[in-house]
């Protein structure tokens, strides 16, 4: 099932092509049947078997048909053209240079900003919750993008920092009586501290080890939250406080000494106020973060991140302290994750460890991969697509994780730099 077919001599006639296509289709049919037959076709039902063999047969037939058409298509002139283009593009990892003439979309950005601010006032409750979730994932995507996309460090336990932020708010409120606004910077610092603690020993090592260590770390955090019943409430979860606006509460009736928002402004009580407020704060934080990341990319530290991603040995030879530079990216990403966690906790009002499993990490990674490993606009777009699309396609909700997996493999083969090619500001030699 390799992508490149066995090369035929250019003089090969149509019969040879057809023969090869049929042979390859037959081979993939047999292989698909061998692989899927038992797992997909024979469903365990207690100690018995339910026969569903029509499913693998259908899938195998589709695979064979696809393979047949694919082989044929690759031997047509346009197929050859695409194949050559594909092979030529594969090795290239260069980043497109953005000259000054390219950068004239500030008006659009302002319009988008205003639209983003106005959006919650037009939405109903359901749409508002989807929007808030989407914004949380945009924030998470931006954070992980610093680590994976810019610095090239594969963090598979990113959800741990998200959990640190969320539990920072919930536990802080329960034990130290702090509110949303105090927790926001504190949780960010705490998450960054966790990032430093984990990153410092590991970042000195080979890049692949980081992936597995962060994977383990994500599980450790989840298991500790799950098992430390006396502190975190374990699987039963813990309540998190709602945000306040200068001491005004977003509830129908305030706690002792508090004043509800709607009474202060002489409005009728509306439970949406709380969500609109969370959305607006979150939206501003997301915009700020996008701006910060964009600025950082053009600063020495951002350039060092990308340089380390491209060639670590060359960077070290040039005197860049690779541990500190990587650590800065790792901590920065962890901090953003922590902030996202605070928003998640205050929006949900209640959190438990089940929200912070590996699939969550995988989803955030899928966002970054689809967005193009380094492109800010790409990540924002991918986060919106990957969170809003499943809401629209509720019927296929079960296939979500499956689709993410397929997406990651295909993206790595087809467009390792994402759908939107990242551009960076640089001296344009031709423009000089």
């Amino acid at each position: 099932m390799s992508l490149t077919p066995t090369p035929l001599t250019s003089a090969a006639g149509p019969t040879a092509v057809l023969r090869q296509a049929v042979l390859e289709a037959a081979a993939s049919f047999v292989l698909a049947l061998l692989l899927l037959g038992p797992i997909v076709g024979l469903v365990l039902d207690g100690y018995q078997i339910k026969n569903e063999l029509q499913r693998p047969l259908l899938i195998a037939a589709l695979v064979a048909l696809g393979r047949f058409l694919f082989t044929l298509a690759l031997h047509t002139p346009s197929g050859r053209f695409w194949l050559e283009r594909f092979s030529a593009h594969r090795g290239k990892t260069a980043i497109l240079v953005q000259s000054d003439s390219d950068r004239q979309h500030h008006g659009w950005l302002l319009l988008l900003f205003i639209a983003g601010l106005a959006l919650p006032f037009l939405a109903n409750k359901y749409a508002l919750t989807v929007l808030i979730q989407a914004m949380i994932y945009v924030l998470l995507g931006l954070g992980l993008n610093i680590v994976v996309g810019l610095a090239g460090l594969l963090d598979l336990g990113y959800v741990a920092f998200y959990a640190v932020g969320a539990y920072g708010l919930a536990l802080g409120a329960q034990y130290l009586d702090i509110g949303f606004w105090t927790a926001l910077p504190l949780a960010a610092l705490l998450a960054a501290l966790f990032g430093a603690l984990l990153g410092f020993p590991v970042l000195r090592m080979h890049g692949d080890y980081l992936a597995i260590v962060t994977l383990g770390f994500g599980e450790i955090i989840r298991l500790v939250l799950n098992n430390w019943l006396s502190l975190t409430g374990g699987p039963n979860g813990i309540a998190a406080p709602a945000p306040q606006l200068f001491g005004l509460e977003f509830s129908r009736s305030a706690r002792e000494g508090g004043l509800p928002f709607h009474e202060y402004f002489q409005l009728a009580y509306n439970p949406l106020h709380r969500f609109i407020f969370i959305y607006l704060v979150l939206f501003l934080v997301v915009c700020l973060m996008a701006l910060v990341v964009n600025r950082l990319r053009n600063m020495p530290v951002g350039r060092a991140w990308e340089a380390l991603r491209e060639d670590e040995i060359a960077c070290r030879a040039l005197g860049i302290n690779h541990v500190l530079v990587k650590l800065s990216a790792f901590m920065m990403g962890a901090m953003v994750g922590g902030i996202a966690g605070v928003f998640f906790a205050t929006y949900q009002g209640f959190i438990n460890p089940a929200s912070f499993n590996f699939f969550e990490s995988a989803l955030i990674l899928a966002i970054v991969v689809l967005g193009g490993l380094g492109s800010t606009s790409g990540v924002i777009l991918a986060a919106l697509v990957l969170t809003i699309l499943p809401e629209v396609l509720r019927a296929f909700a079960d296939y979500r994780v499956f689709a993410f997996g397929v997406l990651m493999v295909l993206m790595m083969i087809w467009r390792p730099r994402g759908l939107i090619q990242p551009r960076r500001r640089a001296f344009d030699v031709e423009g000089l």
């Binding site: 038992p38 990892t93 692949d208 499956f402 997996g405 397929v406 990651m408 790595m412």
Partner: protein, 305 residues
């Protein structure tokens, strides 16, 4: 601590360790030859557990009564199909990425792992599955109150793992295929110049790793009896820990690391706390990576341009 509890934990640890060792072989061989962590390997093991239950159910519903034959047929079928999984995964997800940057195969591997986990969940359902307890025979040492219990399956696990390790050791050390594997591991380009089909060797390594994971999957399913689509994740990280502990790239290291990890995990859960045994194993991974990244039997890795 009573001696019988200690001894029982040692027996359990030895069993667990052999399993980790078998799975660790897949990680260590793949890492040795192409320098990447095959994240989908844990899920290949998970697939083999499902295959075991399916094969046994099919054989019993066909009216086959002979238990040894059923077990052997299950083992062969599971190894064959799981090996096909290993081959296909390499072909689809890793081979097209050869020569790309380091991040791409890792992300592709995570994608493959998600596909396997979710694919099995979608087709077999999310609930925990199981097989009936087939070999209830146990040996007991000690008196009525304090005894150590060793099941026949546990003995089988240790014996089969050691036998397959010995076979693999012979295969890698003494045969032409093994020599080609070692040559490819040392210097892939030079091996290719000398006429070794390195793509085929890499495929073979994936097939061997998957077959070893299949043996582990069959044995674990017979021992514990229950499994779900998520078992590959945690077991995979632990087996990787075992591979790192023993020294990644080293075959005896994988087995040694597996045994050490299994024993220490069993002792930890017996003496300290069962809830935190996974935390203990993952912390061990971090500590090993900090203080001895080459593992016990590994060679230091030199980064070259």
């Amino acid at each position: 601590m009573d001696w019988h509890i200690l001894a029982q934990q040692l027996v359990n640890g030895l069993t667990l360790g052999s399993i980790y060792g078998l799975i660790a072989i897949g990680y260590t061989m793949v890492y040795g030859i192409i320098g990447m962590i095959n994240f989908a390997h844990g899920d290949v093991y998970m697939v083999s557990a499902y295959l075991t239950a399916i094969c046994l159910a099919v054989l019993f519903s066909c009216g086959i009564d002979s238990l040894p034959f059923a077990l052997l047929a299950t083992l062969v079928a599971a190894m064959l199909i799981t090996a096909a999984y290993g081959w296909t995964i390499e072909r689809i997800a890793y081979r097209p990425l050869r020569g790309s940057n380091r991040l791409a195969p890792l992300i592709s591997a995570i994608g493959m792992s998600l596909v396997l986990q979710n694919g099995v969940q979608l087709s077999q359902g999310a609930r925990t599955q199981g097989v009936p307890s087939l070999i209830p025979a146990t040996l007991r040492f000690g008196d009525e109150e304090t005894f150590v219990q060793i099941t026949l399956v546990q003995v089988m696990i240790v014996v089969v793992s050691l036998a397959s390790m010995a076979l693999l050791h012979w295969l890698i050390g003494r045969t032409t295929l093994g020599r080609q594997c070692r040559a490819t591991q040392q210097d892939r380009r030079m091996a290719a110049i000398l006429g070794i089909d390195t793509d085929r060797i890499i495929s073979t390594v994936f097939v061997i790793g998957a077959a070893m994971a299949a043996i582990a999957g069959v044995l674990v399913t017979l021992n514990y009896g229950s499994f779900d689509f998520y078992i590959g994740f945690v077991t995979g990280i632990k087996a990787f820990t075992a591979a790192v502990l023993g020294g990644i790239g080293s075959l005896p290291g994988a087995m040694l690391g597996g045994l050490i990890l299994g024993l220490s995990e069993a002792l930890f859960s017996g003496m300290v706390n069962t809830d935190y045994k996974d935390v203990f194993a993952f912390s061990l991974l971090v500590l090993v990576l900090i203080f001895r990244p080459t593992g016990l039997l590994g060679k230091p890795e030199v980064e070259k341009v």
